[in-house]
Amino acid sequence: MQSTPATLKSRAAAVLLALATLLGAMPGHAQLRLDITQGVRDAVPIAVVPFGGQAEGGENDIAAVVANDLRMSGRFAPLERRDMVTRPTSGGEVRFEDWRLLKSDFIVVGRIEPDGAGLAVNFELHNVRTGASLLAQRLPSTEKGLRATAHRIADLVFERLTGIPGAFSTRIAYVAVDGKPPAQRYRLIVADADGFNPRTVLESREPIMSPAWSPDGQQLAYVSFESKLSAVYVQRLATGERSRVSARAGINGAPAWSPDGRRLALTLSRDGNLDIYTLELATQQLTRVTSDDAIDTEAEWSKDGQSLFFTSDRAGNAQVYQVRLDEARKAERVTFTNSYNARPRMSPDGKELALVTLDRGGYRIGVMDLASRNLRVLTNARQDESPSFAPNGAMVIYATRDGGRGSLAIASSDGAFQQRLSSDQGDVRDPAWQPFATRR
């Protein structure tokens, strides 16, 4: 048996190579794409005119990236290009009466210029009704960095018009699965928030789940079954360097970073019973937090780092509890609406929890206000799970099922809209939105 894995592996490699040759072109990574499933009521009409100095329609088409970001937020309805009669590239060229006729409230124009060895992107935001200039900036860029610059422009425009910082320059982590059971391939992927630039962080024939960003946005903790048993790993994205931080007997799951980045909350099992622990990463010191007979899992830190929210079925079915990390470690139930509430995730301001709730027969994403305990349900499908707040709190990314396949979707935190991010291959699931700390 000892020599078998190597033999099988080379055989597998040979078969894969043969298949790849047969097919000629090999598929790339799962790429997410925003599907506009519905028009959004009350979305602000805005014209993002193709930028001067670049051909239209390429992958780096700045205006297309900006318009897509703004559309993804659900708060803006970008004007279709075919309806644009002119292509101004600076505020001085804009004839505002034309754009009033097109019913755009705002207009973004700009152009790309050579700047030393690199590029510079000039852009302006104007109010179409008044003609007032709201933003005008020159951003240094490079040929390769144009998409990043475009996301930055979308961030600035979003913030100028809504008062909320844009989250378009951040990234998302998620798990993609292809192949039929039982022979599936699991990949942990990190992509731009709009689904572009997917990069495989880890690939395995065994399950990968529960990616969680460190507060500085530089590392991911996740669960991998690559050793046949579950273990929690921490991986630094810039270098790929990773360490196995928990591979104790039984279950090692549901990692969540403390706000200071020094500890992970984990789910471990002893005698088959799942409980919450905290692990000091530098010292490996483990502290038990819950010791109930029930399933206690899916911990999430309060913003002050003094307590944990978690899922437990100690009262018979899954509900969310809060436990203070003091001597008493007394757990208090916080969800009372609906018979199933699980997987709490904290909003960036620490005031709300996104969770999975069983609402009128479907597992849906809800947001609960911690002060009032009011629960608002954001989604309306049957199997929505794994909510994660955008770092600006304006949106929640989550996993849903679409035609039997897992896909990702985005809902606005106020429940006004949902939009789907479809994948061109495989199942995608377990999304986690990167926090803001990495922004330049």
């Binding site: 894995p5 099988l8 597998a12 894969l16 059971p181 880890l202 024939r205 579950s230 794994s386």
Partner: protein, 178 residues
């Protein structure tokens, strides 16, 4: 050993045939998971006939194993970790084998259907695996012979989002080594 080899090859080729999306050769898994995939696939993909074909070369233990492996999955009701009456004999057959061959090892893999939260389902799968473990323990199997693992909803036996698929995915697989 020979049986395991045959089974492993059969399962791997099955797996490769089913894996319709090849990736770039330089992207093949960095993790040493081939043996894991084969071992954990035994519960689902085994055609008992493969073992029977080589039966003349098998030791009595291997024959006994091949016999009980024809039924090596215990299925559960929704949100339940009770062993249904029709699976009591299945568990008993595995218990007898494990008691008779004290060096034999079994891995109890708990699974759920896809509904609900993923990590919570890891807990439900573990609870099912522990139920089977306790039943085996009660029938004289030594603790050291058993390990449990829960995959929650991560490793479905079949695809699908209907009750028929759910019923096949709520299960504990008894995966024998040795």
């Amino acid at each position: 050993m020979k049986l395991m080899h045959v089974l492993a090859v059969a399962i791997l080729s099955l797996g490769l045939a089913a894996c319709s999306k090849p990736t770039k050769p330089d992207e093949t898994t960095a993790a040493p998971t081939e043996s894991g995939a084969a071992a954990s696939g035994v519960g689902v993909g085994v055609d008992a006939g493969a073992g029977a074909g080589t039966a003349t070369q098998l030791t009595p233990q291997q024959q006994a194993l091949a016999a009980i492996q024809q039924k090596n999955v215990v299925y559960f009701d929704f949100d339940s970790s009770e062993i249904r009456s029709e699976f009591v004999p299945v568990v008993a057959a595995h218990a007898q084998y494990l008691v008779k061959y004290p060096t034999a090892r079994v891995r109890l893999e708990g699974h759920t259907d896809e509904r609900g939260s993923r990590e919570y389902n890891i807990g439900l799968g573990e609870r099912r695996a522990q139920t089977v473990r306790r039943a085996l323990l009660a029938q004289g199997v030594a603790e050291a012979q058993m390990t449990t693992v829960s995959y929650g909803e991560e490793r479905p036996a079949v695809e699908g989002s209907d009750e028929a698929a759910y019923a096949q995915n709520r299960r504990v697989e008894l995966v024998h080594a040795q």
